[in-house]
């Protein structure tokens, strides 16, 4: 017994020593490789990582005529991995990153990434398609990456269509009609169970407690005429919560809370469970991105509901009482592809990388990244939409997953949602086609009244230093006011706390930086 135990122990120690010595010798320099025929990336991963030898990656490599090596990092821990990677000298050449993330801003300003401001014009597909979005994605006018284009206008209200019919109201177009619908959904028993157990609007606990983070509150404030984040008032740029419209909008929401028109757990409802009250018939409206309409259609359809198309409708942004309409746009981009100076050392190397990215930004490249392999996992209908095919073939499913979970993250020209220069993906069912058609019209209409955040291009130093701490003051105060924990005076006192905690400084800096921007 003990003899065999000793042998095993010895064997274990030997293995350990051997492993240590072996690895100590093989280790060292993976960094500083600059093979012009291999481009390295680091990107976020949702779901499972693609195989380097997978069908899709091979197709992309064949198209580029170059090898690609992607470090896929699970989305939830991307920041951590990013930080250790920055600290070591093995950073990939092209990194997907939020260009406003303080750690990135600091690193870029310290020279960790290439300044691409005047370098993109000679690459036909990298030249920004929209100058304003390019400016929005910049750091004080300096471009540290290729922005990834995303839909500019995505806000909408998703409504239980059958409930609307039950209470005999039409789709709301103004905040007053919206209020009427919410009231009827609460009081007129839209689910017909004889009990008063429904509410009009469903709001979840917003994951970011920062102000201006595309929450339903931010959208409603914009409807009332408050700036979207930052806006101009009397020749000076001010944060939205410094305007009377902000207070106005929140009083409106507070009235809805007090009358029971909003779910009682709006401070805690998990965003992952946002659709549940809607589906279960407890709440009738959701203010969120328009693609959520398809998620709730999925739920009704999977439940075996034949008339699932009659359960869901969608309207766009609303006009306020005086008929004036202000719509809430998004930023038009999400993350950038930044190029590391550590691993791309010379202008010639940079040119090589940019040329590759330029090729990837052509229609053919974007289709590979966003749609996959034509004839394998999708086919093109009417010349502009993609329909999935061979969905039951496991090998094809892998191609599709590689697109959805991973490679679409490298696309700079739109997403499958809007298509961009690739094909828009549409489920092969009529209700989906109907709602997407409607979405297109709503977006077109709302874009005319979009209120843009004028401060997007600038990053104030004090914001970098203190932003996250003081930003949540406003987000918290808003929820406290709605729940009744503080009154209007309390809300204003909290806003003052933001000013005192560094906000005044931020306002000055934002105004100065905006004045310095290239016009």
């Amino acid at each position: 017994m003990s003899a065999s135990r000793r042998r095993r122990l010895l064997a274990g120690v030997l293995t350990l020593t051997a492993a240590l010595t072996a690895s100590a010798c093989s280790g060292g320099g993976e960094a500083a490789q600059s093979d012009p025929n291999t481009i390295t990336f680091m990107a976020k991963l949702f779901g499972t990582a693609p195989e380097p030898t997978g069908e899709l990656q091979q197709a992309i490599e064949k198209f580029l005529g170059k090898k690609i090596k992607v470090t896929w990092v699970p989305n939830a821990e991307y920041t951590e991995k990013m930080n250790v990677t920055l600290a070591s000298d093995s950073i990939p050449q092209v990194v997907v990153v939020d260009p406003k993330m303080p750690a990135f801003v600091k690193a870029a300003q310290a020279g960790a990434f290439w300044d691409l401001t005047d370098k993109l014009d000679k690459y036909p597909n990298l030249k920004p398609t929209d100058a304003q979005t390019a400016l929005n994605a910049s750091v004080n006018g300096k471009t540290y990456g290729l922005y990834r284009m995303r839909p500019l206008l995505r806000s909408a209200i998703i409504i239980r269509k059958d409930w609307l019919e039950k209470v005999g109201l039409k789709e709301p177009t103004t905040v007053d009609e919206f209020y009427e619908v919410a009231k009827a959904f609460t009081e007129k028993d839209p689910d017909g169970n004889g009990k008063k157990d429904t509410y009009g609007l469903i709001i979840p606990k917003w994951p970011s407690s920062s102000y201006a983070s595309a929450s339903p509150y931010d959208v409603v404030e914009t409807w009332f005429g408050a700036p979207n984040g930052w806006g101009e008032r009397d020749g000076k740029v001010v944060p939205g919560f410094d305007t009377p419209e902000f207070i106005e909008a929140n009083k409106f929401l507070k009235k809805m809370v007090d009358e029971g028109l909003i779910n009682p757990d709006f401070a805690t409802l998990d965003t992952a469970k946002w659709n549940e009250p809607f589906f279960h018939g407890r709440g009738g409206m959701i203010i969120d991105v328009n693609i959520r309409s398809r998620q709730v259609l999925d739920l009704f359809r999977e439940n075996g509901d034949k008339d699932y198309g009659d359960k869901v409708t969608m309207v766009g942004n609303l006009a306020r009482s005086d008929g004036k309409k202000f719509s809430y746009p998004f930023t038009g981009y999400a993350d950038s592809l930044a190029i590391s100076k550590q691993s791309v050392r010379t202008e010639a190397e940079l040119d090589n990388v940019l040329k590759t990215l330029d090729k990837l930004a052509t229609k053919e490249g974007q289709v590979l990244l966003q749609n996959g392999i034509e004839g394998r996992n999708f086919k093109v209908d009417n010349g502009d939409t993609a329909t999935l095919i061979n969905v039951d073939d496991p090998a094809v499913r892998t191609v599709q997953d590689n697109v959805d979970d991973a490679f679409t993250q490298l696309s700079t020209k739109g997403t499958m949602d809007i298509g961009g220069i690739a094909y828009q993906r549409i489920p092969p069912f009529q209700p989906y086609r109907d709602i997407i058609d409607k979405q297109k019209k709503l977006v077109e209409e709302d874009l005319k009244t979009a209120v843009h955040n004028v401060a997007l291009p600038v990053v104030a130093p004090t914001q970098v230093e203190k932003g996250p701490q003081i930003d949540k003051i406003i987000g918290d105060a808003r929820v406290k006011f709605l729940s009744g924990a503080i009154d209007e005076a309390g809300l204003k006192a909290e806003i003052q706390k933001w000013h005192d905690g560094g906000g005044t400084q931020i306002i000055t800096e934002v105004n100065d930086l905006l004045a310095k921007l290239p016009k």
Binding site: L86, D265, V479
Partner: protein, 325 residues
């Protein structure tokens, strides 16, 4: 026999042990205990390489560290981050919140496994004992994300299980949002910890109880000791050293509240009582990419931890326990 029970095992041991060898020259000691020292080598090497080698990292608490610039390239800023921490308007509140949660943790979460282990030890139906043990330690494997989701299922204001009972059994339809409110925050957090950690915590005490010599019980019974006197004179002394060691170790982590759990349970309405060092550092440090600041907070927590751990060790020894060393 009663004298046997009363004599602590330590007393018997001391007489047969070699005296402390402080007086012996080092070379002699090394030679005499060469096998013991040899056994220390791999462990000491581990601590040297993986724990002490990276310790230079704490210097970034005194820098404005940027990963890209590295340790040598980042500017030195002295005590700036500590000043920011201690002079911040939130410091007193953070400290209070952290300490209150720590006190509740010690009071309930630390003691619960001891009590449950003792209860399990008294359980005589073996199959029941084993089944219960196997069931109650499963929650250890669930992440806080899942625990938070389950808490929501239970406590949701709208259609939570508790709200359902309040409505159906008591006719109370006020729909309290327990998870949003300041006054329920600590209760819920401690309940979550109890649920997730108690079963797992019993394992170490059950292992200690497994080491009790059955003859001791036999002897106690022959002396006419009942169940409770056996518990008092045999079982408790048997796990006391383990409890003491666990308590001292726990004291070092008093300022750790566990980021993920607290972060998930924080809402706009309860932040006043929910925010602790760990979550605050997340906002100020990690989200901001301010490594130096979070290291400074870590250093502060470390100093507090060292004081607490060595302090409680000293206290334990003063009280006649063995302590850590």
């Amino acid at each position: 026999m009663a004298t046997d029970l009363a004599t602590p095992p330590t007393a018997a041991r001391k007489s047969t042990r070699p005296k402390r060898a402080d007086k012996v020259p080092l070379g002699m000691a090394v030679l005499r205990y060469r096998w013991l020292y040899l056994m220390l080598v791999p462990g000491v090497a581990y601590f040297a390489i993986f724990k002490y080698l990276p310790m230079y990292g704490v210097t970034i608490a005194f820098q404005d560290y940027l990963p890209f610039l590295g340790y040598s390239g980042s500017p030195w800023v002295g005590l700036k981050h500590f000043e920011q921490l201690f002079s911040g308007p939130d410091f007193a509140r953070l400290l209070a919140n952290t300490l209150i949660l720590a006190a509740l943790h010690i009071l309930f979460v630390f003691t619960a496994p001891v009590i449950v282990a003792l209860m399990l030890n008294e359980l005589r139906v073996n199959i029941l004992k084993r089944s219960i043990q196997s069931l109650i330690y499963i929650p250890h494997f669930l992440s806080w994300t899942i625990v938070a989701a389950l808490t929501y299922v239970l406590f949701a204001a709208d259609f939570g299980v508790i709200a359902g009972w309040m409505r159906d059994l008591l006719g109370d339809t006020t729909k309290i949002d327990y998870m949003a409110q300041e006054q329920w925050f600590r209760e819920i957090v401690i309940m979550q910890q109890l649920w997730k950690m108690t079963g797992w915590g019993t394992i170490i005490y059950l292992a200690a109880l497994a080491g009790v010599d059955p003859n001791l019980y036999e002897a106690a019974r022959m002396d006419g000791a009942g169940r409770f006197r056996q518990l008092w004179h045999v079982t408790l002394p048997a796990i006391r050293p383990t409890v003491v060691v666990m308590a001292i170790l726990a004291s070092g982590n008093l300022l750790d509240s566990g980021f993920e759990q607290i972060w998930l349970m924080t809402t706009s309405l309860n932040r006043e009582v929910a925010e602790v060092f760990d979550t605050y550092v997340y906002y100020a440090g990690v989200q901001n990419g301010n490594f130096s600041y979070s290291t400074a907070v870590g250093l502060f927590k470390g100093v507090a931890g060292v004081i607490l751990i060595f302090g409680s060790n000293w206290l334990a020894k003063r009280m006649g326990q063995r302590g850590l060393f």
